[in-house]
Symmetry: D2
Subunit: 337 residues, 4 copies
Amino acid sequence: MKKVNLAIIGIGRIGIIHLKNIIRNFPGANVLAVADVNFSKDDFTKEYPGIIFSANAEEIISLPAVEAVIICTPTSSHAELIEKAIQYGKHIFCEKPVDLSLERTALLVKKVAAAGLKLMLGFNRRFDPDFMEANKNIRSGRIGELQVVKITSRDPGLPPLDYIKHSGGLFMDMAIHDFDMARYMMGKEVVEVYAKGLVLVDEKVGEAGDIDTALTTLVFEDGTYAVIDNSRKAVYGYDQRIEVFGSNGMIQVKNNLHNSNVVFDSDGIHQALPLDFFMDRYACSYLNEMKYFIDALLTNAALPVSGADGLMATYIAVAAKKSMIEKRPVLISEIML
Amino acid sequence: MKKVNLAIIGIGRIGIIHLKNIIRNFPGANVLAVADVNFSKDDFTKEYPGIIFSANAEEIISLPAVEAVIICTPTSSHAELIEKAIQYGKHIFCEKPVDLSLERTALLVKKVAAAGLKLMLGFNRRFDPDFMEANKNIRSGRIGELQVVKITSRDPGLPPLDYIKHSGGLFMDMAIHDFDMARYMMGKEVVEVYAKGLVLVDEKVGEAGDIDTALTTLVFEDGTYAVIDNSRKAVYGYDQRIEVFGSNGMIQVKNNLHNSNVVFDSDGIHQALPLDFFMDRYACSYLNEMKYFIDALLTNAALPVSGADGLMATYIAVAAKKSMIEKRPVLISEIML
Amino acid sequence: MKKVNLAIIGIGRIGIIHLKNIIRNFPGANVLAVADVNFSKDDFTKEYPGIIFSANAEEIISLPAVEAVIICTPTSSHAELIEKAIQYGKHIFCEKPVDLSLERTALLVKKVAAAGLKLMLGFNRRFDPDFMEANKNIRSGRIGELQVVKITSRDPGLPPLDYIKHSGGLFMDMAIHDFDMARYMMGKEVVEVYAKGLVLVDEKVGEAGDIDTALTTLVFEDGTYAVIDNSRKAVYGYDQRIEVFGSNGMIQVKNNLHNSNVVFDSDGIHQALPLDFFMDRYACSYLNEMKYFIDALLTNAALPVSGADGLMATYIAVAAKKSMIEKRPVLISEIML
Amino acid sequence: MKKVNLAIIGIGRIGIIHLKNIIRNFPGANVLAVADVNFSKDDFTKEYPGIIFSANAEEIISLPAVEAVIICTPTSSHAELIEKAIQYGKHIFCEKPVDLSLERTALLVKKVAAAGLKLMLGFNRRFDPDFMEANKNIRSGRIGELQVVKITSRDPGLPPLDYIKHSGGLFMDMAIHDFDMARYMMGKEVVEVYAKGLVLVDEKVGEAGDIDTALTTLVFEDGTYAVIDNSRKAVYGYDQRIEVFGSNGMIQVKNNLHNSNVVFDSDGIHQALPLDFFMDRYACSYLNEMKYFIDALLTNAALPVSGADGLMATYIAVAAKKSMIEKRPVLISEIML
C-alpha cells in the first residue's frame, strides 16, 4: 500500500492534534518529520521515536522524501513556510489564514497554483459531521432553491489580549471561519459585505484595537444573503449554529451538548451546555479534514478547500473590516486584486 | 337550529368549567338548569340570569325540558343521580368513576343501556388534542402493529388527605384515567393486571390506607402490554407522557410546558416546567369532551366513551388493587361480574 | 362594578376576534356598538341582539356612551377614523399601522396626545405569553446587559397580490411587527437602519412593486443591534422565533407547534409543524392585548403600547425601505419629523 | 512509568476494539500478547508487529509477563478461560456474561476472589458518558431519594437466529445489561423480579425457543422498583433511554442521534435517528471501561464492576426467565445459591 510522507511544521495545540490523528487513523500516511522551535528534540524523539525532528523548518521541508507539509505555526510565519514549500515542490496543508496581508495571500495562492502544487486551507468546520450532513442535504436539493443562511458563531470566552493584538482582528481571525462556512453552505460567491462591530465584552479588546462583537451581512451574486453573528464571549458555551433557508424548507444545525442528560426539578428542566472548547467541539472535523487532505494526495483528487477558498474568505474579511470602518456596504470587487 | 337542553348537577371546579364551556362555545346546547348544594341561588342567578337553579338535584333532573344531565358532584353521589336520570329518561354525562363499587357500576351501566339512554364517562384525556393526534396516527397504521404502550402519569402534588380517604384509592381515583388511556391507545381489551404499589411521597397516605406510588402492567388479549407509572407527586410538575411502540415505529406524546422559552446561562440550558395543574393541562380536553357529548346528543351518534368503557376501567382498577394485595397477576375474568 | 363601553369599527377577521374575546372574557367591558360596511344589520343583530349596529362608523363613534373605539378596518381608513375618535373624544385602540404616511401618522399621534386621549396600537405580539415571559426575564436582568436580538419572522405563505399592492410594502406591513418587537425586547431606541430586500418567493410580488424577502439590521442608541429576517413564505409553517443575547446568557423563544407528538419511524424522528395561521399562533396575544387596553381604560393606567410606539415602528419601516433603495445605512434622524 | 502487560483472548468485533483502544489511548498499558483461533498469525503480526500471537489461548495466558487477560471470546468459552487465568494467577476482564450457567458463574466468581484476583465484567454501559453523568448526579443527591428507574432498551434489529439459539435467551443475553444498569442507577439490591415476554418481532425467534419482546419489573430491597422494556427490533434505531425519578426531581438520559441536523419542510420537522449500531452508540463506553480496568490494575484500586456484579445480573436474568415461565413474581432468594 502506497503511503504519503508528510512533515508537520509546528506542533502546538493544533499541530499535535494532526500528528496524533495521522498516526492513529491513517495507514495511508506517514509522518516522516516534524519541525518545531519550542519542543526539545530529546523529548519529542522519546515520545515519537521513528519521526525525524528539527527546530529548523527548512531542514524538514527540504527533505526529499517529504511529499507534503502541514503548517500549524502562528499566522505570521505561514507565508514564509509556504514559500519554502513551493521552493522544494511540496504540497501544502496550512491552518487559516494564509496571511494577514491580502496581497501576500493572493500572491501565494497564485504561486502555489503556478507550481502545480496542492494547497488546502484548514477550514476545519467544513468537515464537521453535522455541517457536512447539512451540506449534503442542501446539495441534494432537500430544501430547494437557497435563500438565506444564518450563522451564530460565538466563542465561549475571550482569547488572551496578546493573541488578539496579533490576530488580524475579529473578522480575519474568527469570523473568517464563518465567511467560509457561508460560501460552503450556499455554494455561491459573495459580492458585497456589510459589517457592524463593537466592543461589548471587554473594553481592553477595544484598547487593543479590535472588536469583540460583530454582525456581518454577505450578499451573494444572485442577491441572496448570509447573516453572521459573532461574539468573543458566550457565557453558556461555544455557540455554533447554522440555519439555511430554501424555497422548500429549512435546515438547522444545532449545538453539540456536553451530554444528553435532562434534569427536571422544581426550578425547571435543565440540560447541559454546549461543548465549550473548540478542540472538543470540532474534534471530528480536525480528523476528517486530514483524511480528505491525505486522500487527495494519494488519489490526486481535487481538494475540498483550496487556496482560492482561503483567498475568498480573506477578501470577505478585509471587506468586512472596511465596511465597519467606512459604515457602508463594500463590494468585493472594490478590494479584489 | 336545534338546541339540546342540558342540566348540570354540581358546579364545583369541574362543573363550572363545563358550564362556562357550554355557554361560550356550543350554540347547539343550552344550559337550562343547574343544581348545587353549596351555591346560593341568588349569587348564581345574578351571574347566570337565564338559568334555572335549585339546591335540589331531583327538581332539576326531573324538569321535562331537560334532555341530558351532566353529573359533576362528588363520586359518592354519582350512583343515586344516575338512577334519577334513568328514572326521568335523561341522557347522562358523568365524571369518572361511576361508583367505587364495582357491582353498582356494572348494574348502573346495564340499567342505562336497558333504558335506551346514553351514558358518557368523563375520561377527558381521550379528548386532549395531543393524545387525539397520537390516537389518530395509531389508528391510521402509522406505526404498524401495536406492541407496547408506556404511560407516565405523575401528579404535581398530593391531594388533601381527606380527599384521599374517600377517593377509592390511587388505582380507582387516579390510575383509572391511565387504564382508560391504555385501552384507548391500544384499541384492545385488557385480560390481566399486575400491580405494585407503595408509599414513597408521604407516610400519611399510608396511614390513610392508600399508596402514593404505583406501577401497573396490563396485558391485552393478544399478549401485548401496557405499563403505567403513577406517582402522586412529581416536584417538576404534572408529568403526563405516553409512548406507543409498534412494528413500524413509535409515537411519543410529550408534556405541555408553561412556555416555549429556553434560557441559556453559565449553569446550563433551562426550560419551563410542564403545566402543573390538571385544569390547565387538560383545558382543551374538557372543552372537547363536551363537544363530543353534545354532538352525540344532537345527531344521535355513538358516544366516544361509554358506560361500558367506564366499567372496564373500573374492572382494571379493582384488579390492580387485588394484584397489589395478593402479590400476583390477576385476571380480569377473576373479577368480572 | 364599573364597565367601560366600547365600540368596534370593522368586524373582519380581527374585529370579530376582538368582539368575541371581549364578550366572553372581560366582565369590565361592554361592546355597546359595532360598525361595519360589509355586514348586514339583520345578520349581526340576530347573532348579537344587545349590540347597536350601523354601517356608518361616525354614527357609532359619536354615540355619547361609547368611551373607546377599537379600529379594525383596512389601513387606508385608520387615519380618518382616528380623526373622528379625536373629534368625539374617544380613546382608541387601532390595528397597526396608524397610516402608510409617516407625516399623517406623526400628526395623528400628536393630535391624540394633545386631546388627552389614549391610543394603543395593535402590536399584539407583545402580548404573546412566550414573548412576555422572555421580556419579563430580560427586564429582571436574567441575561445581564443586552447585546443582540435576532428575530426570525417568516409567514407561512404569500397574502393575495391585491393585498400586497395596498399593504405599504413588506417593511410597513409585515416587518413593522418585528421592528416593534426588537424595541420591546431590547428596551432601547433605534438610531440606524440597514435593510436588504429581494424577490425570492414569487416574481409577481416584484411586479406589484414589493419584495418578499428581507433582512434588516437595526442599531440601537448604544451601538447594540437587532437583526430581523423576514420572508413571506416559509413552507414549514409560520416561523416566529426570537433570540436575545446578553452578557450573562441568552433567551430563546421557540415556535409553537401544532401538537406535542413525536413520531419515530425508519426514516427519522418527526414532529408537527409550527402553527401556520397567525390567528392561531397569536390567539392568546389578541386576547391579552385587549385585556391590557381595557384595564388601562378602567384604571387610567399607562398603555403598554402607545401611539408613540406605533410612530417609532413606522419610522423604522420608512428608514428600512429608504435603506434598501439607497443601498446604505439610514439614520432615523434623517427621516424623523 | 509503570506499564501493565495485558493479553487479549479473542479479537472478534469487541476484542479488536479493546486492542485498538489500548494501543491508541493508554500509555500505562501494553498489549503483550493476543490469542485468536480465527486470525492468521502472519496477518496479525504484519499489522501488529510487536505483539506476540498464538491460536492457543493457554500459551498466551501462561506467559509469565502477562498480568491480566481480557476475554472477548464467545460466551461458551468464558468459564474455561477464566479457570486458566486463575490457574496462572492473572487478573481478568471478561465480556458479559461469565457463563450461561448460574452455578458455574457463582463458582468462578468465588474462585477468582479466593485467588485474590481482580475480575471485571464488561458491563460497558456503566461507562457511557451520558449514563455516568446521570449516575454522578444521582449519587450527589440531585434528585433526592430514588423512587423509580425506567429503562427503554430496544435493539435496532434481530441478531442472526443462530446467535439467538446460543445466546442464553433475551434476559441473559440482552436484558442483562439493563439489569446491571438498574442496579447501577439505583445503588440498591434487587429482591424480586416479575417478567413478561413474548414474540412480536419474528415467529422464528419463538421457534428458536426465545422471546423478542419483554417487560421486566425489578423490586429493590426498599420496595422501590425498576421497569425495563426490551425489544429486539426498534425500526427507528437503537433505543437506549433511562429515566430515574426521585423525591426532588427526575433525570432523563436521551438517545444519541446520528447528527444534530433538524430539517423543516412542508411535511414536518425531521431529525436523524438514534445511532443504530451498538459499537457506535457505545464507542466511548468501550474506551472508558478499559481505562477503568487498567487504572485499577495500575493503582490496585477497586474495580467499578466486579464479578459479584456479574453474578447479581445473572441471578436477575435467571429469575426473570423463571417469572415469565411460572407467571408469577420470583424472589431472588428463591434462586440464590
